[in-house]
Symmetry: C2
Subunit: 454 residues, 2 copies
C-alpha cells in the first residue's frame, strides 16, 4: 500500500486520508506481543479500533488476551464484537474464565453466543454470525433504506437484506444493497428482491459444503435457516475464505501422512508435534512391518538370487510414487465434485491402462539401466542378467499398474466407509503398495528365473 | 435449496419467488452438453440469462461453445458479459476465431479485453475486471447515489465505489454502499469514504498475493492501479475464491508427485494424463536408481548378512514418511507466512530433536518386533539377532532424523533457488531420503555387526 504517495499527495493530517495502517497490519503487530502486553495495549485503544482488531480471526491468541484483561474491559469489547467471533474466543477459554466473561455480555449477545457455541465445530452453525439485517416483507423500499440508515448504523458490512414473513419469521426473499438503492421508494421491498429463492443451508451443514455453495453461487453471504425456514444467522464470504485456507492446510498435512497440526508450525509445543506426527508414523510403520514378513516368506529366493535385492527399493518406490500420484488426483477430483463415488469403476478403467503405460515406460528405463551397466562393465549381474532385467521390467509394469489402481481406489473406499477421502495420504498408499509390490516382484522372479537363478 | 418449500408456500407462479433453478445449476446442466448443442441452447435463452451463464468460470468449455455460435450472436453475448470473463474465453480460442470474435465487440470493450489479455497469466491484471463504479472526488453523496441508480443499472454487483481525482484520475478513496446509503445527501462523497487509504496492487502482482491481501483485509474487491495510482480494474472476492480452489488443486497434484493436471480428471486425454504423470515418475525413477548403485556398493555386506535385507523396505519407508510429514508442514508454513525463508535454521533446530524422538519411537517398536519374533519362534534372525535388532533401531533413529531434516529443508532450498516450494512432493523427498537412508543403514550395520556378521 503506497502510504508515501498519500501522505505526500494529501499533505495535511486533517484530510480524510490520514494513512493509518490497516487493521490487518495492527493485528500482525499484536500477534508479536505477549498476551498481557497485548491486553494492556488493546484496552488503551479507542473502542472502535480495539473491537476491529479483536474481531479478526488472524489475531491468534485472542482468548489469552481477553483472559488477561479486567473483566469489565473484556465485556465492553466483546459486547461490541461480532457474536461469531466472541463464540470462537470463548471456545478457547478455560471454563471459569469463560463463565465470567459470558456474564459481562448483554442478555441478547449472551444468548446468541451460547447458541453459536452449541453447534458442533466445522458446521455452518459454528461459523455463522447472528448479526444480519432483516426487514418484514410488508415494508417498502423507502422504509428499508431508512432502517438501514438509522438502526444499522453500527454494522460495518451489510451483505444483503433478508426479507422475513412478519408472522412466521420465515425467509421469503433477499435484497442486495444495489437493488435497494435503485428501487422506487414506494415499491414493496419484495419487488426488488432476487428472483430465485435464496440459497440456504441448515446449521448442521459441514463448513466445506458451505464454502462450496458460496463459491458456486458467487454469494457474499449464505443464510443459515432452521426447519421453519427462519434465519438463524449468516455465513459471510470472508469467513469462507478463512475456512478454505484452514481446510487446505489440514488437507496438506493429512496428505503428507500426519494429523493436521491445528496450530502455526512455530507455535505448537514439542509434545504436540510428536503427538501429531508420531501417531501416523507408528501406524504406518506397523503396516510396513508386513514387508519384513513378506521378505521372510521369500527368504529362499533371496538367498539364491541376491541380485534381486538390488532393485527392491527401486521397484517399491515406483509403486509408491504412482500410487501417490493417483491418490492425489482422486482426492481433488472428489473434493471438486468432478468425480463422484459411483464413478469408481470409470476411474479404474482409466487408471489401469494408465498404470500399464507408465509401468511399461519405467520398465523400459529399468531394463535399459541394467543392460547398460552390464555392457559398460559397471557391474556384473551374473550369467542370467537378461532374465534379471526382464524380471525387473515386468515387475515394474505390474507394480505401477497396481499402485495406480490402489491409489485411485483408496479415496473412494475411505469415503464409502465414512472417512474423509483426504486421509488417503501418500505414505498410506505407499505402505499398501509396498507389501503387495514385494509379492508381485518375487512372484514374477520365481516365474521368469525358474530353473536358472531360482 | 428447499425449492419445494417455496413452491408450496408461495403458491402461484406469478409470485416473485418463482423457484427458478439458480445460474450455478444451469451451468452444471450446460457442462453436460456438447459444445454445439450448448451453443444452440444458449442462443435461444433470454439475453440476461444467457450472459449470466456465460459469465461463470464454472462453464468449462465456454470457448468451444462461443466458437460454435454465429459470430453476431457471440458478439451480442460477449458485449454484455464481464470483460475479464471475455478475456479468459478468448484466451482459449484459436487465433482466427479469436480475431473474428474480437471484431464483434464494441470499441471500448475490445480495448479493455485486449488490455486484459496482454497481462501474463496468474497476475492481478489477468484476473481483474475493468468494470467498476467510479465517481469524481468533487461529487456529493446524492450525486453518487443518483449515478449508481441510473447509469450503473446494468451492473449486478457493486463492490464499492471508487473515488477518483477529476484531473489525474488517481484513486483517492473508497466508499462502500453501506456508507453511501447512510450519508447526508449534500455531504461530499469523500466524507463518507473509508478512513485509511485503500489497499491496492499493481497489475503484475501474482494472483496468490492478491488472494492473500483480499483475505487478510477482508475485502470484497481489490483495486489494481498503475504507477500514477489510476485504477485499471478490480479483482473481486469471487474470482479470488475460484483462484484459491484452482491453486489448491495444483498444489495437491504437485505434492502427490506430478505436474498439475490443469483439467478435470475425467476430461483430460489419455496422452495428456501420461505426459503429466510420466515426466515426474520417470525423473524420480532415475533418481531412485541411485539406491541400486548404493546397494551394489554394499554387496559384500549384503551377501554376508542377508538378514539385513529383510528390513530395507521398513527403514526406507520410515525415512520417506517422516520426510513427507516434514515437507508438508513447511510447504504450508511458507504458504501461510507462518515461516519465512530466513527461519530455516529455527526450523532445523525444531526438526532435529523431533526427528530423533520420532526415530527413537520407531526404533523401539522395530527392536520390539525383532525381539518378539525371535522369542516367539516366528523367525530365527541368527545367533546375532540382538545386534541385528540394535542395528535396525539405531538406523531407524538416524534415518527418521535425516528424513525430517531433509524434508523440512527442501522447500526452503527450492524457494531460495526460485522454484515453488510446493514442488517438494512427497515422492521427491522420499527419493532423496531413500539413497542416504540405505547408506546410513549399512554404515550402522558395519559398525554394530563388525566382527560378528560383518
Amino acid at each position: 500500500m503506497n502510504t508515501k504517495f498519500f501522505s505526500n499527495w494529501v499533505g495535511r493530517k486533517s484530510d480524510v486520508y490520514d494513512p493509518l495502517i490497516t487493521v490487518a497490519e495492527r493485528v500482525e503487530q499484536f500477534n508479536l506481543l505477549k498476551a498481557a502486553d497485548a491486553a494492556r495495549a488493546l484496552a488503551a485503544l479507542p473502542q472502535e479500533q480495539a473491537v476491529a482488531i479483536l474481531d479478526r480471526p488472524e489475531l491468534h491468541h485472542a482468548a489469552a488476551i481477553v483472559g488477561r484483561m479486567p473483566v469489565e474491559i473484556a465485556g465492553r469489547l466483546l459486547n461490541a464484537a461480532s457474536n461469531d467471533r466472541v463464540a470462537d474466543i470463548l471456545h478457547e477459554m478455560e471454563g471459569d474464565r469463560r463463565t465470567l466473561v459470558l456474564g459481562t455480555l448483554d442478555a441478547d449477545a449472551r444468548l446468541a453466543v451460547q447458541t453459536l457455541m452449541g453447534y458442533p465445530p466445522k458446521t455452518a452453525g459454528s461459523i455463522m454470525t447472528t448479526e444480519f439485517v432483516s426487514v418484514p416483507s410488508g415494508w417498502t423500499v423507502a422504509e428499508t433504506l431508512d432502517h438501514v440508515r438509522r438502526v444499522e448504523r453500527s454494522r460495518e458490512t451489510v451483505y444483503a437484506i433478508y426479507v422475513l414473513d412478519p408472522d412466521s419469521q420465515a425467509l421469503v426473499g433477499l435484497v442486495t444493497l444495489r437493488r435497494l438503492i435503485t428501487g422506487e421508494p414506494d415499491a414493496p421491498i419484495l419487488s426488488v428482491a432476487h428472483k430465485s429463492a435464496p440459497v440456504t443451508v441448515d446449521p448442521m451443514t459441514g463448513q466445506e459444503d458451505v464454502a462450496r455453495l458460496i463459491s458456486k453461487h458467487d454469494l457474499l453471504a449464505l443464510p443459515v435457516v432452521d426447519d421453519a425456514h427462519r434465519v438463524l444467522g449468516i455465513v459471510t464470504v470472508d469467513d469462507v475464505i478463512d475456512t478454505m485456507v484452514a481446510e487446505t492446510t489440514e488437507d496438506v498435512h493429512r496428505f503428507g501422512g500426519m494429523e493436521a497440526l491445528g496450530k502455526p508450525y512455530m507455535k505448537i509445543s514439542f509434545a504436540g508435534m510428536i503427538r501429531k506426527r508420531g501417531g501416523w508414523l507408528a501406524a504406518l510403520f506397523l503396516g510396513e512391518m508386513l514387508t519384513a514378513t513378506a521378505m521372510q516368506h521369500f527368504e529362499t529366493e533371496l538367498e539364491k538370487a541376491i541380485v534381486l535385492t538390488l532393485f527392491i527399493p527401486l521397484i517399491m518406490s515406483s509403486g509408491g510414487n504412482s500410487g501417490s500420484q493417483a491418490t492425489s488426483l482422486i482426492i481433488r477430483g472428489l473434493a471438486l465434485g468432478e468425480v463422484r463415488l459411483r464413478d469408481w469403476w470409470r476411474v479404474l478403467l482409466r487408471e489401469i491402462p494408465t498404470g500399464l503405460t507408465l509401468g511399461a515406460i519405467l520398465g523400459v528405463i529399468g531394463i535399459a539401466r541394467i543392460v547398460a551397466w552390464q555392457w559398460l562393465g559397471f557391474y556384473d549381474y551374473g550369467p542370467h542378467w537378461m532374465l534379471v532385467a526382464l524380471t525387473v521390467g515386468v515387475a515394474l509394469t505390474g507394480i505401477v499398474t497396481f499402485g495406480s489402481a490402489t491409489g485411485s481406489m483408496l479415496p473412494f473406499l475411505l469415503q464409502r466407509i465414512g472417512f474423509d477421502p483426504a486421509s488417503a495420504s501418500a505414505p498410506f498408499v505407499a505402505t499398501l503398495v509396498d507389501v503387495t509390490g514385494l509379492v508381485i516382484y518375487f512372484s514374477v522372479a520365481i516365474v521368469i528365473l525358474h530353473g536358472t537363478l531360482l
